[in-house]
């Protein structure tokens, strides 16, 4: 009961408020077009008719939520997933490069963190650069990587995945360095008294201790991989993927299509992040964390 009172009702109320605001804005923003149409036809339009019309425009300034929902329903369920007009197809393209990039990036980040934790030289010389690189708008390179790799005949999934890899390995590396260093000195000393080897210290102490850090940074990494994959789809001439959907929509003024793609991307991000949250809970429980 507490859960319902403390989170379901407030969140639901805020969501409803957002939905209501959305409708209000849709009417307000789309009204000038309708008035313009009426003035051109030399007719006057009643307020009721105006409101109905603003929610059913072909290319509204702001589509009403039900228009977006209808577009999503149509492109997800009515069109077969193999068709290029299906949102599932485009989401699948984006998802595959996101996951490939995220997987590679996480692996690279973990390996880098292991190297940094075990080498004083790398720690002192490489770590400052990793931190600086977080302040750099790396995403701006995305289109260049795509076009340049296209020029040397590397096309398809790999270039996009490389952008996601590049974006996602920084948070994982930084988080894991923190995580692998998180065991207390007392625990490290205990391992020493056991005469544990470096690899034993790693597998039995450092690695398990770093798990919470790993999952926290993986959540950030998967969200940023998705952004990378979407931005990576922009410059290829809008072939396939959520980003291509956005770009094509903005070329042809298909606002409903843009919003549908945006909602799909948002859903994907939410699902991916909560999946990692779920895995984190499972792993934590397996490792003996009691809530």
């Amino acid at each position: 009961m507490n859960f319902i009172r403390n989170s379901v009702i407030p969140v639901g109320a805020v969501l409803l408020a957002i939905l209501a605001l959305w409708y209000v804005f849709a009417v307000v923003l789309n009204a000038p077009f309708e008035r313009d149409q009426a003035a051109r036809a030399n007719t006057t339009i009643s307020t009721g008719q105006l409101i109905v019309n603003t929610m059913a425009q072909e290319r509204p300034v702001l589509p009403a939520p039900h228009q977006v929902a209808e577009e999503i329903r149509k492109t997800v369920f009515d069109i077969s997933p193999t068709s290029k007009r299906s949102l599932v197809y485009h989401a699948g393209v984006t998802l595959s490069s996101t996951l490939l990039g995220f997987g590679l990036g996480t692996l690279l980040g973990i390996l880098l963190a292991i190297a940094i934790v075990h080498s004083r030289t790398l720690d002192k010389s490489l770590m400052p650069w990793i931190i600086t690189s977080q302040t750099v708008p790396i995403l701006a390179i995305a289109p260049m990587i795509i076009v340049v790799l296209n020029a040397v005949n590397i096309t398809g999934l790999l270039p996009k995945a490389m952008i996601s890899t590049y974006l996602s390995f920084f948070p994982v590396a930084v988080g894991m360095v923190k995580g692998l260093r998180s065991p207390e000195i007392m625990h490290l000393d205990l391992m020493r008294t056991y005469n544990a080897s470096k690899s034993q210290v790693f597998w039995k102490l450092r690695w398990p201790a770093s798990m919470p850090y790993l999952f926290t940074s993986m959540k950030i990494a998967v969200a940023i991989s998705l952004v990378g994959a979407i931005v990576g789809e922009l410059p290829t001439g809008a072939v396939a993927g959520i980003g291509a959907r956005l770009l094509a929509g903005s070329y042809y003024g298909q606002t409903v299509q843009i919003w549908a793609a945006l909602i799909a991307a948002a859903l994907m991000a939410a699902i991916l992040v909560s999946l990692i949250g779920l895995v984190a809970t499972l792993v934590n429980r397996r490792m003996g964390v009691r809530p």
């Binding site: 030289t121 750099v136 260049m144 340049v148 950030i220 770009l247 903005s250 843009i258």
Partner: protein
Amino acid sequence: MTISRSPLAIAAFLLAVPGLLISSGGDVQATLAYSTPVILFVAAAVALFTSVSIPSLIVVLILVHVVAFCLIDLLGSMLTARPDIGYWCMVASSWLLAWFSVQNLAGLKLASAQAQRLVNFALPVLFGAWLLILWEILVRGFGVPSILLPPPSMIAGRIANSVPTLWVDFQQTYLKAAIAGYAIGCGSGFLAAIIVDRVPFLRRGLLPIGNLVAALPVVGIAPIMVMWFGSYWESKAAVVVIMTFFPMLVNTVAGLAASGAMERDLMQTYGSSYGQTLLKLRLPAAMPFIFNALKINSTLALIGAIVAEFFGSPIVGMGFRISAEVGRMNVDMVWAEIFVAALAGSLSYGLITLIERAVTFWHPSYRT
């Protein structure tokens, strides 16, 4: 005479020997081609046969950088031919020597704090310098097409040649769009956080949503903003506003909850009003969180402004320049823009860190 047992020094020495014997390629008759291997050999010998000390490390470092400079210069005189085995041996040897010096510098425990700080600053600089040196040598030595990856010298030349263009783009994207959007986004996020904090119902309802939105690909909103606000900088600022709003909201709300119950009780016994508690206790306590959001947002703002320009912009701006020059395969210009973006990003991050240090001087992480 002590022989260093470091495998790095031994490998560097062994690789320096072929440089003396085998030709480094090309039809070079310059004195440079003869003197470079000798300098390298001396450096390797110093590294191998002297015990590790600061003077010997400095000698090795200076010699190795002279060698690196000569090696790059040699590339310029080998116009047609590709460098030979001897050349690559020298490159590998000098890189190993630099690595050897950095490793030993990192391992040194210096008595004076000032010297330690100098070393801590020098290590990443050396690492970065060698990244650039190897990038330059490998790209030019192997003849990598400049479309794929231009050498740093070419990018530097391009930056020097097109300062006016870069400055105009920087003005458009950073000084107008990113800063305006950043200020509005962070400001409104901050005010919203104070309201949300005052109303518990909103806090419970809005925070989970705010947390979710902070993870969403908000850049996707860019085409819509371009449609609504036109293709000038206002639409980019709008994207930045939306991108920066939620991180600020979430962090500030978390920060406002950070002051301890005991301190709040103390404020209550003083009979202080809500406003007094907010200004004198809770906002100062929230500052580390707020600065965290400001730092995250400084990167997001630049990304938002640049990516939004991919969806339509006037013929000026960093994002526009990147997508236009990529289309014309002027990759060096793209790298020049990226350099400017990286510089702007790091400098603004550094500036915020400095302000943070001044404002949150009381925080444990800054007390010494």
